[in-house]
């Protein structure tokens, strides 16, 4: 029961963060949303493991977390060099 409540809260979090990822005016907003999404997905996998009585899911959560941080840093390195060649998608600075 308590795991179901936690999973529900995490799903609501998912919806809000996805809304920010879709709305986000700059690419950094989207990246921040993606990073938070990864953390919440990791927690959701862990909670789902407890909800279904199979705590082996925690291994998946660990792998997901490691991939999440590597992905965020890698994409960030890419974006820091320049834009994606998509003019008009975002305007940075005033």
């Amino acid at each position: 029961m308590m795991f179901a409540a936690a999973a529900l809260a995490l799903l609501v979090t998912f919806a809000l963060v996805i809304a920010r990822a879709v709305l986000g005016p700059t690419v950094f907003d989207r990246l921040q949303a993606a990073n938070t999404l990864g953390t919440v997905a990791m927690l959701l996998v862990a909670v789902l493991g407890f909800l279904t009585g199979r705590p082996e899911f925690l291994d998946l959560a660990l792998v997901y977390g490691l991939l999440n941080v590597v992905g965020t840093i890698a994409v960030l390195k890419f974006f820091r060099q320049g834009d994606l060649g998509d003019p008009g998608e975002e305007r940075l600075g005033p």
Partner: protein, 108 residues
Amino acid sequence: MTLLLDIVSWLFIVAGGFFCVVGALGLLRMPDFFTRMHAASVTDTLGAGLLLVGLMLQAGLTLVTVKLLFLAVLIFFTSPTATHALAKAAVVRGLQPLLAQGDESSKR
């Protein structure tokens, strides 16, 4: 004893879920990128931490608790790193923070 453990872990898990939702709400509602980053860190630290402590109390003294501890340590170290890199990249790209009672022209 087990009832007490259940109650305490209920409290931790509900608080963790609450802070996750609060952080996401801040991420959606805050006015500019740097404040949004600030709000998102609530989900990463307080929400995840409380939730994992609640799960640890449910798991007892087993290998599952060790894995949860690994998860907590992973979040504890990687989330600030990613946030720092993100902020630095945004500053390098010239994203200006929204200052207090500044002109409305810097607002998007």
